[in-house]
């Protein structure tokens, strides 16, 4: 009996190693929230819009300003920023109604989509960062 369990367990383990990406996108909730709150401007493909709306796909800003990202999502942005060498001066409205976990989900979706490879946010880290910018 124990043997059988072990066998089943190891088979399951092997499968999980061989097919870690059975689910094409692990951040489904983040994707849903992104479509609702972000895609109107940043577009479904994260491309942004010319010099009006910065891209998220392949954006160096995401890499270089990790600490700012949770606050950006919640409170928006008024400053001029530079993304991939291009200046963006339009305001971005924040989405104040998002919970901490929803912000984590959105960020992790964005940070792993369209070729982006940025280390996932964790809830604790996000919470700490959000506390710094509480308005």
């Amino acid at each position: 009996m124990l043997k059988k369990l072990c066998l089943a367990g190891s088979i399951l383990f092997c499968f999980s190693v061989i097919f870690p990406n059975c689910q094409p996108n692990p951040y489904r909730e983040g994707e849903r929230l992104y479509k609702t709150h972000c895609a109107n401007c940043h577009m479904e493909d994260g491309a942004g819009l010319h010099a009006l709306i910065p891209p998220l796909a392949g954006s160096d800003y995401l890499k270089n300003h990790r600490q700012k990202l949770p606050c950006l999502v919640r409170y928006g942005i008024k400053d001029t920023i530079v993304v991939n060498g291009q200046v963006f001066a339009e305001q971005m409205p924040g989405v104040a109604t998002l919970s901490e976990i929803q912000i984590v989900n959105i960020l992790n979706f964005v940070n792993t989509s369209w070729g982006n490879q940025i280390e996932p946010f964790r809830l604790e880290e996000t919470r700490t960062l959000l506390e710094k910018c509480r308005h």
């Binding site: 109107n40 401007c41 819009l49 010319h50 010099a51 009006l52 709306i53 305001q91 409205p93």
Partner: protein, 207 residues
């Protein structure tokens, strides 16, 4: 006898398939009247006069002998406008070198979207003013012409950004008639709309 009816059915269906389908023409949209003489009077876009991103006057004459695509927007629009603009840019790119087609975007935020603001906006979109006019003007004139294009523009403090408006793209022919429209936020609808533009070009500029 039973078979005969069946064969007739087959033949008529086949014959129906053989006759080439009537070439599709775009309808003239809107209510129509009959003149006392019996002619049909189609609804048409009234006279207008606005100012574009380069402070140039834009009137019906700007679009004389051209077909043009209309939309309504405002710069600080947090909802549908960027999507509509992105699809508008697809049209812009496709007809960039085709002098028969122009684009006309009306700002419905007359307070904030000044000529200078429109100029900056156009520059950021990277569009040429000769091709794509972004206009402002008299508040009531803009809101009322939205009706004439069968679009919607309403000031509404409860809407995101303070305005409620449709993301429609509207196609106007060179006789000031509205001939087609689509949801400018929907890329597939815009694909279909581009076919309508090509159809109208064929109709109005026969080779």
């Amino acid at each position: 006898m039973k078979y005969f009816a069946f064969i007739v059915l087959i033949i008529t269906t086949w014959a129906a398939c053989l006759t080439s389908p009537e070439k599709r023409t775009l309808p003239i949209l809107g209510e129509r009247d009959i003149s006392p003489g019996g002619d049909t009077i189609y609804r048409s876009v009234p006279d207008f006069s606005f100012i574009d991103q380069d402070s140039q006057l834009v009137t019906n004459a700007t679009f004389a002998d051209k077909i043009y695509v209309v939309d309504f927007f405002f710069i600080h629009c947090p909802t549908i406008c960027p999507r509509v603009k992105k699809n508008g840019l697809r049209l812009y790119e496709k007809y960039k070198n085709d002098g028969r087609v122009m684009l006309l975007s009306h700002s419905i935020d007359v307070r904030n979207d000044t000529v200078a603001a429109l100029h900056r906006h156009a520059a950021k979109l990277g569009v040429d003013a000769k091709k794509w006019r972004l206009v402002t003007g008299d508040h009531d004139a803009i809101y009322s012409i939205a009706d004439d294009y069968f679009s919607v523009a309403v000031e509404d403090p409860d809407s995101p950004g303070g305005f409620d408006h449709s993301g429609r793209l509207i196609l106007v022919d060179k006789n000031r008639h509205v001939r087609s429209f689509c949801d400018g936020t929907n890329a597939e609808e815009v694909d279909r709309f581009m076919k309508d533009i090509d159809l109208l070009l064929e109709e109005q500029f026969p080779r």
